[in-house]
Symmetry: C2
DNA sequence: GTACAGGTTTACGTTAACGTTAATTACATT
DNA sequence: AATGTAATTAACGTTAACGTAAACCTGTAC
Protein backbone atom coordinates (compact mmCIF):
# COMPACT_ATOMS: atom_id res chain seq x y z
CA UNK A 1 0.00 0.00 0.00
CA UNK A 2 2.86 2.38 -0.71
CA UNK A 3 2.41 5.73 -2.39
CA UNK A 4 3.37 4.15 -5.71
CA UNK A 5 0.36 1.85 -5.73
CA UNK A 6 -1.96 4.77 -6.09
CA UNK A 7 0.07 6.44 -8.77
CA UNK A 8 0.53 3.45 -10.99
CA UNK A 9 -1.00 4.12 -14.38
CA UNK A 10 -2.47 1.71 -16.86
CA UNK A 11 -3.01 1.86 -20.58
CA UNK A 12 -6.32 0.65 -21.89
CA UNK A 13 -4.72 -2.46 -23.32
CA UNK A 14 -3.16 -3.38 -20.01
CA UNK A 15 -6.46 -3.23 -18.19
CA UNK A 16 -8.11 -5.14 -20.99
CA UNK A 17 -5.57 -7.95 -20.66
CA UNK A 18 -5.74 -7.97 -16.89
CA UNK A 19 -9.51 -8.39 -16.83
CA UNK A 20 -9.72 -10.43 -20.01
CA UNK A 21 -12.00 -8.06 -21.87
CA UNK A 22 -11.50 -5.92 -24.97
CA UNK A 23 -10.49 -2.26 -25.07
CA UNK A 24 -13.76 -1.70 -26.86
CA UNK A 25 -15.65 -2.80 -23.77
CA UNK A 26 -13.73 -0.40 -21.56
CA UNK A 27 -14.41 2.48 -23.93
CA UNK A 28 -18.03 1.45 -24.00
CA UNK A 29 -18.26 1.60 -20.22
CA UNK A 30 -16.82 5.10 -20.37
CA UNK A 31 -19.29 6.04 -23.09
CA UNK A 32 -22.07 4.88 -20.79
CA UNK A 33 -20.81 7.16 -18.07
CA UNK A 34 -19.40 4.44 -15.85
CA UNK A 35 -15.81 5.69 -15.86
CA UNK A 36 -13.94 8.84 -16.78
CA UNK A 37 -10.19 8.26 -17.01
CA UNK A 38 -7.81 11.14 -17.55
CA UNK A 39 -5.75 11.64 -20.69
CA UNK A 40 -2.25 12.23 -21.88
CA UNK A 41 -2.74 13.87 -25.20
CA UNK A 42 -5.62 11.90 -26.62
CA UNK A 43 -4.70 8.63 -24.95
CA UNK A 44 -6.63 7.37 -21.96
CA UNK A 45 -4.70 6.93 -18.76
CA UNK A 46 -6.14 4.83 -15.97
CA UNK A 47 -5.28 5.22 -12.30
CA UNK A 48 -5.95 2.80 -9.51
CA UNK A 49 -9.34 4.30 -8.80
CA UNK A 50 -10.33 3.68 -12.41
CA UNK A 51 -9.10 0.13 -12.11
CA UNK A 52 -11.24 -0.34 -9.01
CA UNK A 53 -14.22 1.07 -10.86
CA UNK A 54 -13.69 -1.39 -13.65
CA UNK A 55 -13.45 -4.22 -11.17
CA UNK A 56 -16.75 -3.09 -9.65
CA UNK A 57 -18.40 -2.93 -13.05
CA UNK A 58 -17.37 -6.47 -13.84
CA UNK A 59 -18.45 -7.70 -10.46
CA UNK A 60 -21.80 -6.03 -10.97
CA UNK A 61 -22.13 -7.86 -14.25
CA UNK A 62 -21.35 -11.15 -12.55
CA UNK A 63 -24.06 -10.33 -10.06
CA UNK A 64 -26.50 -9.98 -12.92
CA UNK A 65 -26.75 -6.20 -12.90
CA UNK A 66 -27.08 -4.40 -16.21
CA UNK A 67 -24.64 -1.60 -16.97
CA UNK A 68 -27.50 0.83 -16.45
CA UNK A 69 -28.10 -0.57 -12.99
CA UNK A 70 -24.41 -0.36 -12.15
CA UNK A 71 -24.44 3.25 -13.31
CA UNK A 72 -27.41 3.96 -11.10
CA UNK A 73 -25.51 2.63 -8.11
CA UNK A 74 -22.41 4.60 -9.05
CA UNK A 75 -24.38 7.80 -9.51
CA UNK A 76 -26.10 7.37 -6.18
CA UNK A 77 -22.81 6.76 -4.48
CA UNK A 78 -21.06 9.64 -6.23
CA UNK A 79 -23.69 12.26 -5.55
CA UNK A 80 -24.89 11.28 -2.14
CA UNK A 81 -22.67 8.75 -0.44
CA UNK A 82 -23.99 7.05 2.65
CA UNK A 83 -27.35 8.75 2.57
CA UNK A 84 -30.19 6.72 3.94
CA UNK A 85 -32.03 6.94 0.66
CA UNK A 86 -29.12 5.57 -1.31
CA UNK A 87 -28.51 2.76 1.15
CA UNK A 88 -32.14 1.75 1.09
CA UNK A 89 -32.17 1.78 -2.69
CA UNK A 90 -29.14 -0.48 -2.69
CA UNK A 91 -30.77 -2.83 -0.22
CA UNK A 92 -33.78 -3.03 -2.45
CA UNK A 93 -31.67 -3.95 -5.47
CA UNK A 94 -29.75 -6.62 -3.61
CA UNK A 95 -33.02 -8.06 -2.32
CA UNK A 96 -34.28 -8.46 -5.86
CA UNK A 97 -31.07 -10.14 -6.97
CA UNK A 98 -31.22 -12.47 -4.02
CA UNK A 99 -34.67 -13.61 -5.02
CA UNK A 100 -33.48 -14.33 -8.56
CA UNK A 101 -30.51 -16.29 -7.28
CA UNK A 102 -32.67 -18.31 -4.92
CA UNK A 103 -34.94 -19.28 -7.80
CA UNK A 104 -31.89 -20.26 -9.85
CA UNK A 105 -30.64 -22.47 -7.05
CA UNK A 106 -33.92 -24.35 -6.95
CA UNK A 107 -33.97 -24.68 -10.71
CA UNK A 108 -30.46 -26.10 -10.79
CA UNK A 109 -31.25 -28.64 -8.15
CA UNK A 110 -34.32 -29.82 -10.03
CA UNK A 111 -32.42 -29.98 -13.28
CA UNK A 112 -29.67 -32.02 -11.70
CA UNK A 113 -32.19 -34.54 -10.48
CA UNK A 114 -33.54 -34.80 -13.98
CA UNK A 115 -30.06 -35.27 -15.36
CA UNK A 116 -29.65 -38.15 -12.92
CA UNK A 117 -32.75 -39.76 -14.39
CA UNK A 118 -31.65 -39.29 -17.97
CA UNK A 119 -28.26 -40.68 -17.17
CA UNK A 120 -29.70 -43.68 -15.38
CA UNK A 121 -31.93 -44.49 -18.34
CA UNK A 122 -29.01 -44.17 -20.71
CA UNK A 123 -26.86 -46.51 -18.69
CA UNK A 124 -29.66 -49.03 -18.47
CA UNK A 125 -30.17 -49.09 -22.19
CA UNK A 126 -26.46 -49.33 -22.78
CA UNK A 127 -26.30 -52.30 -20.48
CA UNK A 128 -29.08 -53.98 -22.43
CA UNK A 129 -27.31 -53.35 -25.68
CA UNK A 130 -24.20 -54.96 -24.28
CA UNK A 131 -26.21 -57.98 -23.23
CA UNK A 132 -27.21 -58.30 -26.84
CA UNK A 133 -30.86 -57.46 -26.30
CA UNK A 134 -31.12 -55.33 -29.37
CA UNK A 135 -34.67 -55.03 -30.57
CA UNK B 1 -52.85 -38.86 -12.42
CA UNK B 2 -56.11 -39.96 -14.04
CA UNK B 3 -56.52 -40.34 -17.76
CA UNK B 4 -58.04 -36.88 -17.94
CA UNK B 5 -54.87 -35.16 -16.79
CA UNK B 6 -53.12 -36.15 -19.95
CA UNK B 7 -55.96 -35.14 -22.18
CA UNK B 8 -56.53 -31.68 -20.82
CA UNK B 9 -55.98 -29.13 -23.57
CA UNK B 10 -54.86 -25.53 -23.35
CA UNK B 11 -55.25 -22.54 -25.63
CA UNK B 12 -52.22 -20.39 -26.20
CA UNK B 13 -53.67 -17.61 -24.07
CA UNK B 14 -54.24 -19.94 -21.13
CA UNK B 15 -50.65 -21.10 -21.09
CA UNK B 16 -49.49 -17.52 -21.50
CA UNK B 17 -51.45 -16.45 -18.45
CA UNK B 18 -50.37 -19.44 -16.40
CA UNK B 19 -46.69 -18.81 -17.00
CA UNK B 20 -46.98 -15.04 -17.15
CA UNK B 21 -45.58 -14.68 -20.64
CA UNK B 22 -47.11 -13.48 -23.90
CA UNK B 23 -48.59 -15.65 -26.65
CA UNK B 24 -45.94 -14.12 -28.87
CA UNK B 25 -43.24 -15.78 -26.80
CA UNK B 26 -44.90 -19.18 -27.03
CA UNK B 27 -45.23 -18.84 -30.81
CA UNK B 28 -41.61 -17.79 -30.94
CA UNK B 29 -40.51 -20.90 -29.07
CA UNK B 30 -42.42 -22.99 -31.58
CA UNK B 31 -40.82 -21.06 -34.44
CA UNK B 32 -37.42 -21.94 -32.96
CA UNK B 33 -38.33 -25.61 -32.98
CA UNK B 34 -38.78 -25.96 -29.22
CA UNK B 35 -42.40 -27.07 -29.32
CA UNK B 36 -44.84 -28.40 -31.87
CA UNK B 37 -48.41 -28.29 -30.61
CA UNK B 38 -51.22 -29.81 -32.62
CA UNK B 39 -54.02 -27.80 -34.18
CA UNK B 40 -57.76 -27.60 -34.43
CA UNK B 41 -58.28 -25.81 -37.68
CA UNK B 42 -55.62 -23.15 -37.56
CA UNK B 43 -55.64 -22.75 -33.79
CA UNK B 44 -52.87 -24.21 -31.68
CA UNK B 45 -53.87 -26.77 -29.10
CA UNK B 46 -51.52 -27.62 -26.26
CA UNK B 47 -51.49 -30.90 -24.36
CA UNK B 48 -49.87 -31.66 -21.06
CA UNK B 49 -46.63 -32.67 -22.71
CA UNK B 50 -46.48 -29.28 -24.40
CA UNK B 51 -47.11 -27.60 -21.10
CA UNK B 52 -44.26 -29.53 -19.55
CA UNK B 53 -42.03 -28.51 -22.43
CA UNK B 54 -42.87 -24.89 -21.88
CA UNK B 55 -42.10 -25.23 -18.20
CA UNK B 56 -38.72 -26.70 -19.08
CA UNK B 57 -37.99 -23.90 -21.53
CA UNK B 58 -38.67 -21.27 -18.90
CA UNK B 59 -36.60 -23.05 -16.32
CA UNK B 60 -33.75 -23.26 -18.80
CA UNK B 61 -34.03 -19.54 -19.36
CA UNK B 62 -33.91 -18.82 -15.66
CA UNK B 63 -30.76 -20.91 -15.55
CA UNK B 64 -29.20 -18.68 -18.16
CA UNK B 65 -29.47 -21.06 -21.06
CA UNK B 66 -30.20 -19.60 -24.47
CA UNK B 67 -33.14 -20.96 -26.42
CA UNK B 68 -30.65 -22.56 -28.78
CA UNK B 69 -29.06 -24.42 -25.90
CA UNK B 70 -32.43 -25.54 -24.62
CA UNK B 71 -33.22 -26.82 -28.09
CA UNK B 72 -29.98 -28.78 -28.16
CA UNK B 73 -30.93 -30.45 -24.90
CA UNK B 74 -34.42 -31.20 -26.18
CA UNK B 75 -33.07 -32.64 -29.40
CA UNK B 76 -30.73 -34.90 -27.50
CA UNK B 77 -33.53 -36.01 -25.24
CA UNK B 78 -35.86 -36.60 -28.18
CA UNK B 79 -33.34 -38.45 -30.28
CA UNK B 80 -34.27 -42.06 -30.58
CA UNK B 81 -31.79 -43.62 -28.21
CA UNK B 82 -31.24 -47.01 -29.75
CA UNK B 83 -27.67 -46.68 -30.89
CA UNK B 84 -24.82 -47.07 -28.44
CA UNK B 85 -23.02 -44.16 -30.05
CA UNK B 86 -25.95 -41.82 -29.51
CA UNK B 87 -26.38 -42.97 -25.95
CA UNK B 88 -22.75 -42.43 -25.17
CA UNK B 89 -22.78 -39.02 -26.80
CA UNK B 90 -25.76 -38.10 -24.68
CA UNK B 91 -24.04 -39.29 -21.54
CA UNK B 92 -21.08 -37.14 -22.40
CA UNK B 93 -23.30 -34.10 -22.88
CA UNK B 94 -25.13 -34.63 -19.61
CA UNK B 95 -21.78 -34.92 -17.86
CA UNK B 96 -20.71 -31.59 -19.34
CA UNK B 97 -23.97 -29.95 -18.35
CA UNK B 98 -23.61 -31.31 -14.87
CA UNK B 99 -20.16 -29.77 -14.58
CA UNK B 100 -21.51 -26.43 -15.76
CA UNK B 101 -24.36 -26.57 -13.28
CA UNK B 102 -22.01 -27.45 -10.46
CA UNK B 103 -19.89 -24.42 -11.32
CA UNK B 104 -23.00 -22.25 -11.41
CA UNK B 105 -24.03 -23.53 -8.01
CA UNK B 106 -20.71 -22.51 -6.56
CA UNK B 107 -20.88 -19.12 -8.26
CA UNK B 108 -24.31 -18.42 -6.93
CA UNK B 109 -23.34 -19.40 -3.43
CA UNK B 110 -20.38 -17.03 -3.61
CA UNK B 111 -22.52 -14.23 -4.97
CA UNK B 112 -25.03 -14.74 -2.20
CA UNK B 113 -22.29 -14.44 0.36
CA UNK B 114 -21.23 -11.19 -1.27
CA UNK B 115 -24.78 -9.94 -1.17
CA UNK B 116 -24.89 -10.81 2.50
CA UNK B 117 -21.83 -8.64 3.07
CA UNK B 118 -23.19 -5.72 1.11
CA UNK B 119 -26.47 -5.96 2.91
CA UNK B 120 -24.85 -6.19 6.30
CA UNK B 121 -22.77 -3.10 5.64
CA UNK B 122 -25.81 -1.22 4.43
CA UNK B 123 -27.81 -2.13 7.52
CA UNK B 124 -24.96 -1.12 9.77
CA UNK B 125 -24.64 2.27 8.18
CA UNK B 126 -28.38 2.75 8.28
CA UNK B 127 -28.37 1.94 11.97
CA UNK B 128 -25.66 4.52 12.53
CA UNK B 129 -27.63 7.11 10.66
CA UNK B 130 -30.63 6.37 12.83
CA UNK B 131 -28.55 6.80 15.94
CA UNK B 132 -27.82 10.30 14.72
CA UNK B 133 -24.17 9.70 13.84
CA UNK B 134 -24.35 11.68 10.65
CA UNK B 135 -20.98 13.01 9.58
C1' DG C 1 -76.15 -9.24 -37.54
C1' DT C 2 -72.88 -7.20 -35.30
C1' DA C 3 -69.72 -6.54 -31.83
C1' DC C 4 -66.16 -8.75 -29.35
C1' DA C 5 -62.75 -11.72 -27.48
C1' DG C 6 -59.95 -14.71 -28.81
C1' DG C 7 -56.96 -16.80 -32.39
C1' DT C 8 -53.86 -16.52 -36.96
C1' DT C 9 -49.67 -15.02 -40.20
C1' DT C 10 -46.34 -11.71 -41.86
C1' DA C 11 -43.03 -8.63 -41.15
C1' DC C 12 -40.64 -4.77 -39.47
C1' DG C 13 -38.94 -2.56 -34.84
C1' DT C 14 -36.31 -2.75 -30.35
C1' DT C 15 -32.71 -3.27 -26.67
C1' DA C 16 -28.17 -4.41 -24.57
C1' DA C 17 -23.54 -4.93 -24.95
C1' DC C 18 -20.53 -4.93 -27.39
C1' DG C 19 -17.99 -6.50 -32.51
C1' DT C 20 -16.02 -4.79 -36.48
C1' DT C 21 -14.37 -2.16 -39.93
C1' DA C 22 -12.16 2.39 -41.45
C1' DA C 23 -9.24 6.06 -41.38
C1' DT C 24 -5.93 8.37 -38.65
C1' DT C 25 -2.15 9.33 -35.16
C1' DA C 26 2.05 8.49 -32.65
C1' DC C 27 5.85 6.29 -30.65
C1' DA C 28 9.57 2.50 -31.12
C1' DT C 29 12.38 -0.34 -33.61
C1' DT C 30 14.94 -2.05 -37.61
C1' DA D 1 12.55 5.68 -44.33
C1' DA D 2 9.82 1.86 -43.37
C1' DT D 3 7.65 -1.32 -40.38
C1' DG D 4 5.21 -2.61 -36.26
C1' DT D 5 2.44 -1.89 -32.28
C1' DA D 6 -0.94 0.46 -29.74
C1' DA D 7 -3.85 4.08 -29.44
C1' DT D 8 -7.86 7.26 -31.21
C1' DT D 9 -12.91 8.52 -33.13
C1' DA D 10 -16.89 7.57 -35.88
C1' DA D 11 -20.22 4.80 -37.29
C1' DC D 12 -22.46 0.87 -39.01
C1' DG D 13 -23.25 -4.35 -37.88
C1' DT D 14 -24.67 -8.20 -34.82
C1' DT D 15 -27.37 -11.37 -31.78
C1' DA D 16 -31.14 -12.90 -28.85
C1' DA D 17 -35.64 -12.77 -27.60
C1' DC D 18 -39.09 -11.06 -28.15
C1' DG D 19 -42.58 -6.33 -28.99
C1' DT D 20 -45.70 -4.36 -31.95
C1' DA D 21 -48.65 -3.28 -35.78
C1' DA D 22 -51.49 -4.70 -39.68
C1' DA D 23 -54.84 -7.39 -41.67
C1' DC D 24 -57.30 -11.32 -41.28
C1' DC D 25 -60.56 -15.34 -39.55
C1' DT D 26 -64.06 -17.20 -36.23
C1' DG D 27 -66.97 -18.81 -32.64
C1' DT D 28 -70.02 -17.00 -28.95
C1' DA D 29 -73.08 -13.13 -26.70
C1' DC D 30 -76.35 -9.96 -27.11
Amino acid sequence: MSKYDDETTYAIGELAREFDITPRSIRFYEEQGLMSPSRTGQNRVYLNKDRVRLKLILRGKRLGFSLAEVKTLFDMYDTNPNSAIQLEAMLEMTEQKRAVLKQQLEDIQMLMTELDDVEARCREELAELKRGNIA
